[in-house]
């Protein structure tokens, strides 16, 4: 459950993050303004509130109840999109304007310049921060606990209420998070070194 939650939110967050990141730096005000507002709004809200929000508010909006899992997914994607969008904006802005102009000067269209020149380089530059954010996301999935979702931490507490071995159980779950996140961090560091060595 924890993994499902993390992977789906990650995929959704990155997908919408790319779109929102591109929208944020658009030269057209009616595209960039809403995107900027969205990013600022979600970045100034605590995640736990966003989760509550989607859990209680969205069913009212649509007039029918929604499973805790779906509403958690939507909440995570909505929240993480804002963070990924900022990472992607930074990555795109790290690419020199000169290259883009050189590409425009050969007659390429905006989407071609993005697709062939900017995004391949930007994604490579921002992979480390994307991966760091993914680790944070993985840990944050534990917050879905508050709406009764049976993710890893919730399971732990359920077992705890049966077995009454709080210290051992929570130590164990801390260990699991530690191992998984440390492995991912090591992977990120490996990768960073590789990027720095490369051209």
């Amino acid at each position: 459950m924890t993994f499902q939650l993390a992977v789906i939110s990650l995929a959704g967050g990155i997908f919408f993050g790319v779109l929102l990141g591109l929208a944020r730096i658009s030269s057209r005000k009616y595209i960039s303004c809403p995107a900027t507002l969205y990013i600022h709004f979600f970045r100034s809200q605590p995640l736990i509130l966003v989760i509550f929000w989607f859990y209680f508010f969205v069913p009212i909006l649509f007039g029918k109840p929604m499973s805790a899992f779906i509403s958690a997914i939507i909440g995570f994607i909505a929240f993480e999109t804002a963070y990924f969008a900022e990472i992607i904006r930074g990555g795109i802005q790290s690419i020199s304007k000169g290259q883009m102009q050189a590409a425009y000067a050969t007659g390429m269209k905006h989407y071609q310049v993005m697709r062939y020149i900017v995004l391949p380089q930007a994604l490579k530059n921002m992979l480390p921060s994307l991966m760091t954010q993914s680790i944070v996301l993985f840990q944050d999935t534990s917050l879905a606990y508050v709406i009764g979702l049976q993710e890893f931490l919730r399971r732990t507490s359920l077992v705890d209420s049966r077995e009454v071995k709080s210290i051992e159980l929570y130590l164990f779950s801390a260990l699991v998070y530690l191992v998984i996140c440390l492995t991912m961090s090591l992977f990120v560091r490996r990768f960073e070194n590789k990027v720095h060595q490369g051209v």
Binding site: S96, G98, Q99, Q101, A102, A103, Y104, A105, T106, G107, M108, K109, Q112, Y116, I117, P120, Q121, K124, V199
Partner: protein, 244 residues
Amino acid sequence: MIEIKNVSLWLGDDFQVLKNVSTRFQKGRTTVICGPSGSGKSSLLRCINRLERFQKGEIIVDGLSVHDPKTDIYKLRENVGMVFQHFDLYPHMTALDNITLAPQKVRCLSRQTAESKALQLLERVGIMDKANSFPAQLSGGQQQRVAIARSLAMEPKIMLFDEPTSALDPEMIGEVLDVMIDLALEGMTMIVVTHEMGFAKKVAQEIIFMDHGEIVEAKNTSDFFNHPDHPRTRDFLNRILSHV
């Protein structure tokens, strides 16, 4: 071929970069634009393919109006090659891929056709052996020659050069200028912003001197060097030629 009529360009609200500039560039001729930095030379060049949008006036390139919203600016740019001061190659691609990208994506050539043409161009600029090198592995002069090949791959009718040798070490300037001289002698329509007066004397038919966003003097090459009218032109020439 290129007609510039009363063009004014502002950057920001109150900084006027070009003031009512008018001139024309004829087919098959090489024009050098010189002048102190900040005089608007590069901006004028960038207005021609609308990398910079001017607010007033009109530019007609090969029958197409640059500022007219109905003009397909991408079509116009296909025929106008541009070479930049800092080369601006795509660092994640080999020299060969830098050259073949636009012909494949814009002209829809097959990879094979684009590559064989790119190799010919690399041979022409004298770095056939660097086809598979990345920009970071090339010297400045080599990078600029790849950049010229990249522009030529689109078979443009006009070539714009924006200070193509200003960022180069002195010993590499010659190799880039040689390529440009060949191009000019083959009859390419070229507009070159540069301080290389030797190049200007050798191949340019016309020289334009700009200062403070205005064209101060525009003359054919021998008149420009031998009988400059304007004191500002004389002053500029004295300063720039005293080191030669």
